[in-house]
Every structure is written in structure tokens, then in C-alpha cells.
């Protein structure tokens, strides 16, 4: 039996593990087959403190993993499938194997949310992507559209501008509100990037690959067609919480949090983007991970 099982291996999960292992708690991290979370799909991270020249997302995650393993955490690279979350000790299943933990930290983060419009599903990987660092070079001298008005959309647009001939950023609202001012300036000063406000995609056109999109102007409700080679989706994300039966969530699926890191079940804690829809930064996830790790130790100590 483990003192704590951490589900998730992004900055929240691995930071929680650093705290629990240093507190000598027997720690298991269910890292998933694609361990490391969203930062594995990024390039240069410039806002994580301590790295004045920035650090590559995958390098940051490898360093965190090395750190937590150094303190003795056990890591399993299988996907969590189900669990009994009624009361401690909790039994969970991952990769067809059962594990028992006195406490649980849920740190499963969020996942890409696709647009859900006609013509999308069948063309994912054929011009539709959610990972500019992976796929931008395929769009050399091509015309692309980035969907979204947040920081993630700005980042995708800037990466794509290194390759594409023209990058359009599609924003539902009349201005960018969420990204940092520095990001907005970078985007506005890039001659290849053009913003299209008050608009959304209603259909993605093309047979075997993306050839265009139908755009709706949200003010006039007029629909127009735009020829395009690539669509990069960076809209609001979906929390990975559906497998946690019995844990309270809000209407969007984010886990409801009490006293910073507690869920509605005694002994089950939560950290990072899966409950934090307001910030969703690597550093905030790591901060919540530290809090959850400390709180888990306190909770286990209360039985001594």
C-alpha cells in the first residue's frame, strides 16, 4: 500500500511528488503513457522563474521527473482507468493493474478541446492540429488559421509565423483579453500575423485535407469562405476529470475545491489545471502541487 498515489505527471503532479517523497511518504505517480502533460507539447517556456533564457517545455519536465525520482517516487507509465473513491484506502486501476493508496492527489490537467464543427474530425492530422511546435514545419509558406484568443493561441501563432506565409488568429470576441500584454504586443508586431475578431469557424472544408473554412461573423451573422491550408485549435481546454466518479465537479467539469486543495472526499486532494480554470500556468500548477503535497502529509499525520 502507498501513502499517496498521485494521478498525473505534469508540473502539479511531479511537484506534489517532490514534497511527499521528501516527507518520506511512500509515493506512486501514475504518469500516463504520455507522461509530462501539456508542457511536452510546447517549446520555449519564458515565464517559469529561474530560467532567464527560457527553458524548453520537455526539458523542464525531464528535470522535474529526475528530481522526483531522485527522492524515491515510483513512476508508472500507464493510464489511469478507474478507481473507488468512496473512502480511504482507495483502490485504483491503471494499465490493468490495481494499486492501493491511503490518499490520492488528482493532477490530471486538461486536454485539447476540438471545435466540434463539421469537417473537423476526419481531418485531424491532415491540416488540423492542436500542437504548433509539432506540426508548424509542415506549413512552410502556407496559409493557416489559429482558433482562440488566449495565451495558448498567441504562442501557437508566433511559432507558426516562423514557417507559414500568413497566420490568421481567429477570436470570438472583439479583442484579445486573456493573453499577457507582452504576448499581445509580440503578435501585433509580427507582420505575418493578422487578427480576425468577432468570428468563429462553422465548418472546415476539404476532402482528404484542409482546403478552407467557413467563417461566421458574430455581429452580422454573415458566413464567408476562406481558403486555408491549416487549422490550429487553441480554444478553452477540457479538464480530465470524467473518470473520477463521486468527486464533485462544476458545470464545466473542473473539480470543485475546498480549502485550497481538498475535494469533497476526505483523503482525496486535487492540484493544478484540473481544478484551476483561472490561471492554468506551469508555475501555478507547480504551486498547487506543493500545496497538495503538504496537505496530504498533514492529513496522514492526523491519524498518528
Amino acid at each position: 500500500m502507498y501513502d499517496v498515489i498521485i494521478i498525473g505527471s505534469g508540473p502539479a503532479g511531479l511537484t506534489a511528488g517532490i514534497y511527499t517523497t521528501r516527507d518520506r511518504l511512500k509515493t506512486l505517480i501514475i504518469a500516463g503513457t504520455n507522461w509530462g502533460g501539456q508542457l511536452q507539447l510546447t517549446t520555449l517556456i519564458e515565464n517559469f522563474p529561474g530560467f532567464p533564457d527560457g527553458i524548453q517545455g520537455p526539458d523542464l519536465m525531464s528535470a522535474m521527473r529526475k528530481q522526483v525520482e531522485g527522492f524515491g517516487a515510483e513512476i508508472v507509465e500507464s493510464d489511469f482507468s478507474e478507481g473507488n473513491f468512496s473512502k480511504s484506502p482507495f483502490i485504483i486501476t491503471a494499465g490493468g493493474k490495481e494499486y492501493v493508496g491511503r490518499s490520492i492527489i488528482i493532477a490530471t490537467g486538461t486536454d485539447t478541446q476540438w471545435l466540434g464543427v463539421p469537417g473537423e474530425k476526419e481531418k485531424i492530422g491532415r491540416g488540423i492540429s492542436a500542437c504548433a511546435p509539432c506540426d508548424a514545419p509542415f506549413f512552410k509558406n502556407k496559409k493557416v488559421i489559429v482558433v482562440g484568443g488566449g495565451n495558448a493561441a498567441m504562442e501557437e501563432a508566433l511559432i507558426l509565423a516562423n514557417f507559414a506565409k500568413e497566420v490568421n488568429v481567429l477570436c470570438r470576441k472583439e479583442s484579445f483579453t486573456k493573453p499577457s500584454e507582452m504576448m499581445i504586443e509580440k503578435v501585433k508586431n509580427n507582420p505575418k500575423i493578422k487578427a480576425i475578431y468577432n468570428s468563429e469557424i462553422t465548418e472546415i472544408l476539404g476532402e482528404s485535407k484542409v482546403e478552407g473554412v467557413k467563417l461566421k461573423d458574430n455581429r452580422t451573422h454573415k458566413i464567408s469562405e476562406m481558403p486555408i491550408d491549416g487549422v490550429f485549435v487553441a480554444i478553452r481546454r477540457a479538464p480530465n476529470s470524467e473518470k473520477f466518479k463521486g468527486i464533485e465537479k462544476d458545470e464545466q467539469g473542473y473539480i470543485k475545491v475546498h480549502e485550497f486543495v481538498k475535494t469533497n472526499v476526505d483523503g482525496i486532494f486535487v492540484a493544478g489545471d484540473v481544478h484551476n480554470k483561472n490561471y492554468q500556468q506551469a508555475i501555478t500548477a507547480a504551486g498547487f502541487g506543493a500545496m497538495a503535497g503538504l496537505e496530504t502529509k498533514r492529513w496522514l499525520d492526523s491519524f498518528l
Binding site: 503513457t33 504520455n34 507522461w35 509530462g36 511536452q40 507539447l41 510546447t42 517545455g57 520537455p58 500507464s78 493510464d79 494499465g95 485531424i124 492530422g125 491532415r126 491540416g127 488540423i128 492540429s129 500542437c131 511546435p133 509539432c134 506540426d135 514545419p137 509542415f138 506549413f139 482528404s208 485535407k209 491549416g230
Partner: protein
């Protein structure tokens, strides 16, 4: 087993003219998720040795083949049977999912 690398030059001979099952992992060195998939592909090559030909294609060096199959997201793993592409899995998947596809391919 040594890594099998497909190229624009050998693709016809190694994949299209193969009468069995061939699995091609389209990847590039700058792609983070590809680095995660790569060791899984190596393991599958070992586990299915003699039954399925498993190899990788670097899209930077072999862009002709990549664009021929409309590969615009990597990693993309394409399953060939008798030289025909049967199925494509886009994005990093877990080993079990690849395995299931290979087994389906073998019995198809």
C-alpha cells in the same frame, strides 16, 4: 534489432512492394511527442519481429513520402497491408492501442 529507417528512396521497395504488414512511424527530431513514441515503436518492432515490418520515416529528410500521404501532424503512425495504407493513428498513443491495431492488421 537494428532500427529500420524508411526513406523516399527505399519506400517503394520496403513498404509498397511488401506483401505483408508494414508499420511506418512518421517523425522528426524537433517533435517532442515523437520522442515519446520512438521507444514504443522500437519495442513493437522487437515484439512483432518476423510478423510485421516496423520502421520509421524522418519527415524532414523524406518530405516527398510524407506529403504523398498527407502527413501534416506528427507523430503519425500509418499501417500498410499489401502496400496499401489501411489506417493512420495521429498523435502519441499508448503502446496497447498500437498493439491492438497491429493485431487487427494481422488478422484482417
Amino acid at each position: 534489432m537494428a532500427d529500420l529507417n524508411f526513406t523516399d528512396q527505399n519506400f517503394k521497395q520496403e513498404v509498397l512492394e511488401d506483401n505483408g504488414s508494414v508499420i511506418v512511424d512518421f517523425w522528426a527530431p524537433w517533435c517532442g511527442p515523437c520522442r515519446a513514441v520512438s521507444p514504443v515503436i522500437d519495442e513493437l518492432a522487437k515484439e512483432f519481429a518476423g510478423k510485421v515490418k516496423v520502421g520509421k520515416l524522418n519527415v524532414d529528410e523524406n518530405s516527398q513520402t510524407a506529403s504523398q500521404y498527407n502527413v501534416m501532424s506528427i507523430p503519425s503512425v500509418v499501417f500498410f497491408k499489401n502496400g496499401q495504407p489501411i489506417r493512420t493513428m495521429v498523435g502519441a498513443q499508448n503502446k496497447e492501442d498500437y498493439k491492438q491495431e497491429i493485431e487487427a492488421l494481422l488478422t484482417s
